[in-house]
């Protein structure tokens, strides 16, 4: 499963970023979100989110030297016990869907199978693809 972004539908509201940080960390901080909206121009608001191997070859997992980027049941997630924020995953990701902030990596972990960004997207710009 993964969250698929349909950029043509994205209005750029950032609600997905906010609820993601709330759900995972109990605070509000788009920099700690596992999804990011690039507000590029009037006609382009582009969601960036991990494909969990659907559109990549798990380059982040290969790049991590600290055993912090793990795969479990098709879900790629960060093991914060091990992550040192070196940035190798961010550099390796071909989709621009992993980010380092304050020495920790942030990316989508699919919220245990119920992605909150999808739930709060009112524009059908984010859909679950099984």
């Amino acid at each position: 499963m993964r969250v698929k972004a349909i950029a043509e539908n994205c209005s750029g509201c950032m609600v997905c970023e906010i609820v993601c940080s709330m759900k995972h960390w109990n605070i509000i901080n788009p920099k700690k979100s596992g999804i990011r909206i690039e507000k590029k121009s009037v006609t382009e608001d582009i969601p960036h989110i991990c494909s969990h191997g659907k559109e990549c070859n798990l380059e982040c997992v290969d790049a991590c030297k600290f055993d912090a980027m793990k795969v479990n049941d098709g879900v790629v997630y960060v093991d914060y016990e091990n992550c040192v924020g070196c940035g190798a995953c961010e550099r390796a990701c071909p989709l621009n869907a992993v980010w380092i902030f304050n020495k920790k990596a942030y990316k989508c972990d699919l919220c245990g199978g119920e992605p909150q960004c999808v739930k709060f997207c009112s524009q059908n710009a984010l859909v679950v693809e099984v």
Binding site: C13, V19, I28
Partner: protein
């Protein structure tokens, strides 16, 4: 402190110094945020007697209390400064991300004073504050300015001005994320300070008092909002969705510089026509799940604009008699890029066209055939105004000053209240709004009261059976609505959600800051804010004689369902008196000591 950045940042562009102060919790709960903080600091920091373009004027930016919480549509940030149009109070609220970024950087209020030596931008990156040269951006558009600063500074949110702000066009706006703090010339005040842009990156956590409760409320309001009728209407057609209704059912859509209240040639400017043809997707303010913005891609012209909003469909459309939607959209884009308010721009151009058709301005004065309906002339006048070229130099002063300079009969055609060109509500057939135009602290404005919907439908909140053609009982109604809307602007909630939230913020505030405030408590804060704005205006020289309607409002609407309606001078006087009484002010509109004491703001009146 929950839900706040926690600090107030004051920057002096003249000295380059910055001061940070801690936000006091008691203070925060007295004023909430956004509009409340602006009302307080405008009185504390700005010498009201100075000219708007004096370095002693300040620009204040304050996100609403709920900015950053994902409470749907609560992403608004307010800008404040002395008005470039009337030298009194001015505020303008926008949905760009600047306030969110400021809050994440740790600031609930940004105060900018002084004047930079050369064109500059202010960079705020969490605790780091710097004034940087923007000389390479001189004359650039708002859009290009933001792009260039992002290239240099990375992931910053930029609020910028265009050439019009640099040239001190009195209705120049500030743009952030293609959203504008449009009214009253905040962009011109930025220009007067040599401030091309404000760039902010914030990376701090915003904490709410009760995260689990907040999350449940988000789920609740998400459901409520996407199932509300306005969700589909806003999503498909934007703010102009009711344009046909305003014409056919109410006859109050100002047309050709307020000659008529119905625009017969409206086919193309109706979003039901243009949205399916030109809008390629929705555009939202930050934190909004029911986006009214549209990415409008032009076909005949080259260009894209986040629009076209209802007010602009009037200002550049019906008010100029322009029926071509492409011309209106192009005009909208030019206004956004050069950084001028579309409402005032359309007001000024409609005024010129009226004078031209009545022989008070000739072709050699204007440089073009400025007849109603001439879309090319409208576009050319936008260029001239933004760059202060030819007649544009005069028009850049706004309708009031331009009319006074032209003199004679021109004054009869000047449609403004206290120097501000009015928005798209023909108040001859919406009498409560006529009063609201007079009492708004910034001049003719629909947003401080937001009473148009109540007046036009007859009911909202605690009001029922309101008659828009009557001038009875309007004083209390408008005072109530102003207090109501001040709460929205303090919380940062979009007024298009008023029907969903009303003033039921007790749970949301409990989750956000840990203190639940009921309707009565919120309204008292709203009243406090409204009184503070008025006190600022009094210190700036406000007189009740200035609160008067344009000559055209005293003439009957010539056709449509509101035919024959107008506001008489007696009604004008009576409504204003009713309002002063409802406010607890004296006959001259001066707040009484008792009222200010009751609102705990007696320290502000000299």
């Amino acid at each position: 402190m929950f839900c706040y950045g926690g600090k107030i940042l004051e920057v002096d562009l003249s000295t380059g110094e910055g001061v940070k102060r801690i936000l006091d919790e008691k203070f925060a709960m007295k004023y909430l945020g956004g509009d409340g903080f602006g009302a307080y600091f405008m009185n504390k920091v700005v010498d009201a007697k100075q000219d708007a373009f004096s370095p002693k004027n300040a620009i204040i930016v304050a996100p609403g209390l709920l900015v950053g919480t994902a409470v749907p549509t609560a992403g608004k940030t307010a800008f404040f400064s002395k008005s470039a149009l009337n030298n009194g109070w001015n505020e303008s609220v926008m949905g760009g991300r600047i306030g969110f970024a400021l809050k994440q950087a740790g600031y609930d209020v940004l105060i900018i004073k002084g004047k930079a030596e050369k064109l500059s931008y202010l960079l705020i990156r969490d605790d780091e504050v710097a004034i940087k040269s923007a000389e390479h951006l001189k004359g650039e558009t708002t859009r290009k300015t933001a792009e260039e600063i992002k290239k240099d500074e990375g992931n910053v949110v930029v609020a910028s001005i265009g050439i019009a702000g640099e040239k001190l066009v009195r209705f120049a706006c500030v743009d952030c994320d293609e959203r504008q703090a449009g009214r009253g010339g905040i962009g011109a005040v930025m220009g007067s300070k040599n401030l091309k842009a404000i760039a902010v990156e914030g990376s701090k956590d915003i904490e709410v008092a009760k995260p689990e409760k907040m999350y449940k409320l988000l789920e609740k309001y998400y459901e409520e909002m996407i199932n509300h009728p306005s969700f589909e209407a806003d999503g498909k057609y934007g703010t102009g969705e009711f344009l046909e209704w305003m014409n056919a059912e109410r006859g109050t859509f100002p047309t050709r510089n307020w000659r008529e209240g119905v625009f017969d040639e409206r086919k193309e400017i109706d979003p039901y026509y243009w949205a399916p043809r030109y809008a390629i997707k929705n555009k939202a303010c930050v934190q909004c799940i029911k986006p009214c913005g549209k990415a409008f891609v032009m076909k005949k012209f080259e260009g894209v604009v986040d629009g076209v909003e209802y007010e602009t469909l009037f200002a550049l459309g019906s008010n100029c008699g322009v029926a071509s939607i492409e011309h209106v959209a192009k005009g909208n884009e030019l206004c956004d890029l050069y950084g001028i308010d579309t409402i005032s721009t359309g007001g000024v151009i409609g005024f010129v066209m009226d004078l031209y058709e009545n022989g008070l301005l000739k072709k050699e004065d204007v440089g073009i055939e400025a007849t109603f309906g001439n879309g090319d002339a409208m576009l050319e006048l936008i260029e001239k105004i933004a760059k202060r070229e030819g007649i544009g130099d005069l028009l850049a002063e706004g309708v009031k000053i331009a009319a006074e300079k032209i003199g004679g009969d021109a004054l009869k055609y000047a449609v403004h209240v206290r120097g501000m060109e009015p928005p798209a509500y023909d108040v001859r057939g919406i009498k409560g709004m006529a009063l609201a135009f007079m009492t708004s602290p910034r001049g003719a404005c629909h947003l401080r009261s937001g009473a148009y919907a109540l007046e036009l439908t007859g009911k909202f909140w605690k009001y029922e059976g309101v008659d828009r053609f009557s001038s009875e009982n309007k004083g209390q109604e408008i005072a109530d609505m102003e207090n109501f809307m001040a709460v929205y602007d303090a919380l940062g909630v979009c007024k298009f959600s008023r029907g969903i939230f009303l003033l039921n913020f007790a749970d949301i505030l409990d989750a956000a800051v840990g203190k639940s405030l009921n309707e009565e408590e919120l309204l008292k804060i709203g009243e406090r804010i409204c009184n503070l704005k008025h006190i600022f205006n009094i210190k700036a020289g406000w007189k009740k004689e200035d609160c008067k309607l344009p000559e055209k409002i005293h003439q009957p609407i010539p056709k449509g369902v509101s035919k024959g309606s107008f506001v008489s001078k007696e009604e004008e006087k009576k409504m204003l008196e009713d309002y002063f009484k409802a406010r607890g002010w004296d006959k001259n509109g001066i707040p009484t000591k008792e009222k200010l004491k009751e609102l705990e703001i007696e320290e502000f009146m000299e």
